[in-house]
Amino acid sequence: MGSGSVPSRFAGVDFYQIDSLLTEEERAIRDTVRSWVDDNLMPVIGQCYVEGRFPKQLIPGLAELGVLGANLPEEYGCAGLGNVAYGLIMQELERGDSGIRSFASVQGALVMYPIYAFGSEEQKKKWLPRLARGEDIGCFGLTEPDFGSNPSGMITTARETGDGWVLNGTKMWITNGSQATMAVVWAKTGDVNDAKSIRGFVVPTDAKGFTGKDQKGKLSLRASDTAELHLEDVHLPKDAILPKSGGIKSPLSCLTQARYGISWGAIGAAMACYDEAARYSKNRVMFGKPIGGTQIQQVRLADMLTEITKAQLLSLQLGRMKEAGTMTPQQVSMAKRNNVNMACECAREARRLLGANGILAEYHSMRHMANLESVYTYEGTHDMHSLILGQEITGLAAY
């Protein structure tokens, strides 16, 4: 969608020479994904969003580029990248749209990662290369209608039979749920009060008794597929269980991977909004001068740039800690909480700076603003991350 004021190539935001802290490969990877987004996603995203449609046709291209599960090892058909490079990929995808980043987060961090971390060698060999090539699309079923922020309360069950497992339950808000060919579903193998009995299962979505129903009426993340999954007496073979999974900490460790990527993704969305607002402020003339020459708009822009720069440093250091193996889930909570909130603020301020044009799909800020409300809520709500940090500080759980 041409808006005249938006250039066809995105130049990024780097006020603190943060590029100098990246390796040559990291920069090359970032720039490559950036070009891919410029050429493939930007021309279609506005329309996909308005029509409430995930741009499915882009999956083969994303796979060919090597984006899916990019930080998992090459022996399973993945790109074997470091975690900063992986974060930069998420940033660039979300600069386009949170929906496409959500797709990549789910496929990589919530589907491929649990198979990699908790799966048998056979499961890894069977699924990871296919998922990396985009031949299978995965989804991650943890949340239930009555268990959102408190997933360990889940009531989906897996009962062992003579020759396998039988799953029953309902999962809500499942990204990729309608188009997935396979699902990683979390269920209790023991009593519904026994959170330790939570295990992960690989469920082909064509299994008898499995249905995915599109979530209608979303006003956010409209270019993403969100669905409700029903499992009614779904029979699975013995080897459907992820053997090394056990307890709520297994799905939570997947969320840590995804949240890490989201902390970077949010920076991308914020950069897109800042870039659009800065450009617009210089071109839009009101009262005989560009609105960028007024103090109010300059405060907006200065705040955005400052917050983006802080977020960049936060995620970069988080990434270096992840690469060194010292990153803690609480540190990830801080980055997810800060960066997503920061991006929500940037998107809203950018939208306002754009005046009436700011409400159009032709521009990007309002789409990001609406998307980021989902990102604020999923992968642990902003509030829950406050409580995780609160517990870290005081030693007292408030949830």
Partner: protein, 249 residues
């Protein structure tokens, strides 16, 4: 098939150019450098022809400062097999650059030598053609479509108002125009693999050359547009301005 492709590191055309204090070069601080876009067509052609042939070697050559290695690794990431950097600050005289490249490429026994038709930094359109001359090879310049069948080369060139079709036999020097192909993006695995591909550094000294750059200036700032009105009512005022102010009708 053995294919050489030449690549120049140039400022990104979307970055804002600032003239340096000497008034005849660009200030490189904060400027992003990229492979010359026309050379990307040449790189894509090199990789595609090797893929089609099923065997052979592709080598990327660049003449420039050590930082050009990063640019060359883009070519390696896209799929070129190895690189040779002729280390030199360069010269405003394309002939000096051509001599250094020809000396190096001449010993390689290449079937095909590819260039971009020009570099977007100096717009000289010279080096590829001069290398062909120095190597005593035929040259087809500004090629917008290229097929190779055995050793028979067919190239299309966009000439004023039409298309010219040219044929010749390998070996040949080709300079690529847009339209010839769509350069691929490197895959993320390709970027990682590029680190491990050979990139040889060879210092070269260029001759003094016959031309010097004496001044570099930015084009005059574009003036803001003017909206004279909307709909049919605005036509007379527009015509009047186009005739008397812009003097274009």
């Amino acid at each position: 098939m053995k294919i050489a492709v030449c690549l120049k590191r140039v400022p990104d055309t979307t970055t804002k150019i600032v003239v340096a204090g000497d008034g005849k070069s660009i200030d490189e601080t904060g400027v992003k450098f990229v492979p010359n876009p026309y050379d990307e067509y040449a790189i894509e052609a090199a990789i595609a022809f090797k893929e089609k042939a099923g065997a052979g070697e592709t080598v990327v050559y660049s003449l420039g400062a050590d930082v050009a290695q990063e640019t060359m690794r883009t070519a390696l990431a896209m799929g070129i097999d190895r690189g040779v950097l002729l280390q030199s600050p360069g010269s405003p005289d394309g002939f000096e650059v051509a001599k250094a490249l020809a000396t190096e490429i001449g010993t390689g026994g290449f079937d095909l030598v590819l260039f971009g038709k020009m570099a977007v930094d100096d717009y000289n359109h010279q080096v590829g053609i001069m290398v062909a001359e120095l190597l005593e090879l035929p040259c087809i310049s500004a090629v917008s479509a290229l097929t190779i069948d055995g050793s028979a080369v067919t190239a299309e060139r966009e000439v004023e108002g039409g298309v010219e079709v040219v044929t010749c036999q390998l070996p040949v020097v080709i300079t690529a125009d847009k339209g010839i192909n769509t350069p691929r993006l490197p895959s993320l695995k390709g970027i990682m693999a590029a680190k491990k591909k050979p990139l040889e550094l060879k210092p070269v000294t260029l001759g003094p050359g016959g031309v010097t750059v004496t001044a570099l200036a930015l084009p005059p700032e574009r003036q803001a547009g003017k909206i004279v009105g909307e709909g049919p009512d605005a036509v007379p005022a527009l015509v009047q301005l186009l005739r008397n102010e812009a003097k274009v009708i």
